[in-house]
Every structure is written in C-alpha cells, then in structure tokens.
C-alpha cells in the first residue's frame, strides 16, 4: 500500500524533473547611496527541458520578491468627540516591508488555490507566512486587508499580472521596481514554473539591500553613538547659524 503510494508520487513527480528553471538577476545587491531613488531589478532566465514540453497544458511563470519582515501596527481611525482619532491598534508581527508578485498570465490561472496556499505566493497568503500570527488574520481580517490596501497604494505591495514576458515558452524576463523608501535587508526572490496551476519547479535567490557610504555612516552613528550624533547635529546647526550671520554682516559692509 505504502509502496504503491510512493510509486504513484514518484510518477506524479517525474514530469517535474523534466523542466528546470535557470535564472539570473541583473544585480544581486542594491546599495542605498545618497542619490538612491529606487531601483529596477531585471529578473530573467530560461526553462531547461530534457524532452518536449507536455501538450495541452497552460504554462506560467510567477516571480515574487519579498522584503525583510518587520513588526507593524495597523491603526483604525474613528470619530470621537467630532474629530477623527486612532481608536484601535492591531500588532502585526512579521509583515514583509515589500512584496511584489509578477506573472506571465493572470494569477487566477497561473496558480491553483492549493498551490498558492502551499507556496504562499499571492500577497494575502504570503502575509500569513509562518512568522506572522495566524490568529491576527483570523481575529482581525479587516486589519490585514487594510494593511494590504494601504501598502498597495504606497507601492510597497505590488501585484503585476501579465508582466512576465515569456518567449517560445522558454525564455522569460520581468522587471521588479524597488521603491525609493527601501528598508535594508535580504529581499528573497522566488521564481515558479507552473502548469495548469500546479508548481512544476521553483528557484530561489536573494537580493541584498544595504545602505552604503555617507548613509551608512550617519545611520550607524545615530543609532550607536546617539549623544555624539546629537551634539554633532547641534554643532552643524550652530556653525550654519554663525556662518549665515557672518556672511550677512560681510555682505552689508
């Protein structure tokens, strides 16, 4: 019985071996320098096949990029004493700071609900990741929905269907735009090859985002030597104030 089941599984898994994703990124590290204004990452690759591809199935490529997880607070406003104030706060642990999904065909066709739940691909399912408290999602679904809405509006969560270009069912490419207000950390990038909504192969890599140069220096100083940083800020302010006064006096004479 068990052996038969294993054999069935093996047979079912066999076609998966027939197609592999070979992929690369235009850059695997993003440096936030003073002039940083967002970045576009080109993700491209090909499908390697040992034999002709199965006929009569719909193939799709889905690409996801996920920023570092962080704890966020979702607050709801309501009218109190005639003004709109924050009345309710929900702590959401481990929400990605950035999440983008791109696909070659509409996600509804590219991914069955079961595969989506298993691989956590679309934004709502990705948010209910292992580190996020599932209880929040159950007890407060509006808060999660609102977070997706707010972050989609600000460009932090992106769903771009039909944005993956697929040529001859073999070559694919897409660009993911990283916004200018990026947080530092590892951006996990996944590529899925699906047939009729089932994941055939997946590929995973990381984009490393880090502040560099002056940005790095100031950020580190502010967090590790806050007193020196504060005094330095004051010194700059005093010097600028004195300089302006001196120049003004010189100009008047």
């Amino acid at each position: 019985m068990l052996r038969a089941a294993l054999l069935m599984l093996l047979i079912a898994a066999l076609p998966a071996r027939a197609e592999d994703i070979v992929a690369a990124l235009s850059q695997d590290r993003v440096s936030i320098s003073t002039s940083f204004d967002g970045s576009e990452i080109l993700i491209f690759g090909a499908i390697k096949r040992d034999k002709p591809q199965p006929i009569g199935t719909e193939m799709a490529i889905v690409v996801t990029v996920q920023g570092p997880r962080e704890d966020v607070t979702v607050r709801r406003k309501d009218r109190r004493f005639g003004i709109w104030v924050n009345v309710e706060a929900v702590e959401v642990t481990g929400a990605p700071s950035f999440y983008a999904v791109a696909s070659s065909i509409p996600l509804r066709n590219a991914l069955s609900p079961v595969s989506d739940a298993r691989w956590r691909v679309t934004t709502p399912t990705a948010l209910r990741g292992p580190t996020m408290m599932a209880s929040v999602a159950r007890s407060n679904p509006e808060a999660i929905e609102a977070m997706i809405r707010v972050r989609s509006a600000s460009g932090a969560y992106v769903t771009a269907e039909n944005s993956v270009e697929l040529r001859d069912d073999t070559l694919f490419s897409t660009t993911i735009a990283l916004p200018s207000d990026l947080t530092e950390g590892d951006y996990r990038t996944r590529i899925f090859l699906t047939r009729d909504g089932e994941v055939v192969d997946s590929y995973s890599t990381s984009i490393f985002v880090q502040k560099v140069g002056l940005e790095r220096l100031i950020y580190t100083l502010a967090h590790e030597r806050p007193l020196i940083y504060g005094l330095l800020s004051l010194a700059i302010a005093i010097a600028a104030g004195w300089g302006a006064s001196a120049i003004f006096r010189w100009v008047r004479i």
Binding site: R75, V150, A153, S180, P226
Partner: protein
C-alpha cells in the same frame, strides 16, 4: 535631484527641501518668527515621518535662532538674566515634553496631539493677531490722534514672591512667571517641533511686561538652548534627528531669512502682521479640516509600533 534621507528612510527631491527651507526662511525673516510652525506641517505633507519631522525641525531652529541672536547680541537687545530664568523652566518643560511625546507615540496618538496643539495655538494666535492688525489698520485709516496705551496696572504677576532684578528689561518681578512661561514653551518645543516664539513673544510683552525691543532677542536666546536640548533628547531616545534633512533645510532657511529681512523692511508693520495672521489661520484651517473631515482611508500602518 533625489536624495535619500538616512534616518527618515525616504527619498525626496533636494531642491524641494531647499525651496521649502528658503520659503519658510523668507517668511521668518519678514515676520521675525522661527517658522517651525509652518515647516513641521509642510514636512508631514511631503511624507517625512512625523517623529523625524519634529526632531529635525528642532535642530534646524537652533541654527536660525543662533543666527538671529548674534545680531541681537551686537545690538545689546538680549536680557541674558531673564533668558537664563526662562531657560531653566524651558529645559524642564522640554524634558517633560519628550516623555509625553514618547508615551503618546506608543499609544498611536502623537499625530493627534501634535495636530490638536497646532490647531489650538495657531487658531488663537492667528485670530488675535488678525483682529489686532485689522484694528491697527483701521486706526491708521481714521488718522485720528494716536491713543497711547497706558502702562498696564501692576497685577497678580507683581504680587508673587522670589523677586529678582532684570536690569536690561528694567524689571523687578518674581521669577515664577518667567519660569512658568519657559516651562510651557519647553513642552511645546518638544511636542510640536517649534521654537515657541509665537507664544513666548506675546507672553513676555503682555504677561511679564518686558520692553518690546528686548523681547525678540531674549526669546531667541532661550529658544536656542531649549530646542538644542530637545534635539539631543530626540536624538538619544528616539534616534529621529535626520542630519541630511536638517542641513538641506538649513541652507535654504538661512539664505531665505536674509532675503525675507530685506522684503520685511519695505513693508508696513500692520500689513506684515495681517499677512502673517492669514498664513497662520490658513495652516490652522488645513490641519483642522484633516481632523474634522472623514479620511478616505480609515486605517494607517506604522512600523516598529511599541518599544
């Protein structure tokens, strides 16, 4: 030219910041106000996180008031003794204000508090200034004999103990009222990211009875230390002072202030005050509308909520 701010963690146009600094600088040069009450809401509007806007603005005010106080020191229009008394109250107030700010930030109500403070103070100050300058213009039109206002009667302020002599101001009053004024302005400086000149100047004239010529210099003197202290507290407890943002605002601000001073000289005092009053009321109205009108999005998402 986009520039990435290391602490605010947003990318903004450097020229926009220089322009904002310059514009507010012109106004502060014209009217003799710090301009913090205009700059902080403007920074909110361009997407700087409120906590960073408030802390960084405090840092910027240090620069503009230092520049101003040097000019006043040369003209000997700073009452250092009064400044020190105001300062003692101010430092205590600023320390308390930063604590209140942190508690409310954890509760998610800091936006509300800052906005309510703005609406209240801008509304009152703008309204009073508008009425007063309108009356002044009407009097000037009537061209009647200018009525000299009598010196205020010695009120409750002069009945308090711990009297002290303030030679530059020509006053012999209790230290309690200046301490209270300093304390109150210190709280405002920490919470609102403003110098508090627009509260302090009227309080010094009408409450303490100081001569107008020493009021601005003394107020600036005290503001340097209180906002400096608030900057340090924000930098060490919240890590929210953005040096790059401060420098950009500073450059625009100091240049704008020089231009503004020259424009201000050519305009009549009443016209200046009525313009300032209208501007104050405009900012107040905008902030009040935000609180009163139902927002399009009821939810907001903040990172690193409770600490």
């Amino acid at each position: 030219m986009q520039i990435y701010l290391p602490i605010a963690e947003v990318s903004v146009n450097a020229f926009l910041l220089l322009g904002l600094g310059g514009m507010v600088g012109v106004l502060s040069g014209m009217f003799g106000v710090g301009g913090g009450f205009l700059m902080t809401p403007l920074l909110f509007m361009i997407g700087i996180p409120p906590a960073v806007a408030v802390a960084t603005e405090a840092n910027q005010i240090v620069a503009s008031s230092f520049s101003g106080v040097l000019a006043h020191l040369r003209r000997r229009t700073v009452d250092l003794r009064m400044g020190m008394v105001l300062l003692v109250g101010g430092l205590v107030g600023a320390a308390l204000g930063v604590q209140v700010f942190n508690i409310l930030r954890d509760l998610g109500q800091v936006d509300l508090l800052v906005k309510l403070c703005y609406v209240l103070f801008l509304g009152v100050v703008g309204g009073l200034m508008f009425i007063e300058s309108l009356n002044a213009i009407r009097r000037a039109r009537a061209a009647g004999p200018v009525q000299r206002t009598e010196r205020r009667q010695r009120g409750w302020v002069h009945a308090l103990p711990f009297k002290m002599k303030f030679r530059t101001s020509g006053l012999y009053i209790s230290v309690i009222p200046p301490l209270m004024v300093g304390f109150f302005v210190g709280i405002l400086a920490a919470i609102m990211g403003v110098g508090g000149g627009f509260i302090m100047v009227p309080a010094m004239i009408y409450l303490l009875g100081m001569p107008t010529k020493v009021v601005v210099g003394t107020s600036l003197f005290q503001i340097i230390f209180v906002t400096g202290f608030a900057t340090l507290l924000h930098a060490t407890t919240n890590y929210t002072v953005d040096m790059v943002l401060a420098v950009l605002l500073l450059i625009g601000g100091v240049v704008g202030a020089q231009v503004g001073t020259r424009i201000g000289v050519r305009m009549k005092a009443e016209q200046l005050r009525i313009l300032l009053a209208l501007m104050v009321l405009l900012v107040c109205g905008k902030l009040a509308a935000d609180l009163l009108i139902e927002p399009a999005e009821l939810y907001s998402v903040g990172t690193g909520g409770a600490h």
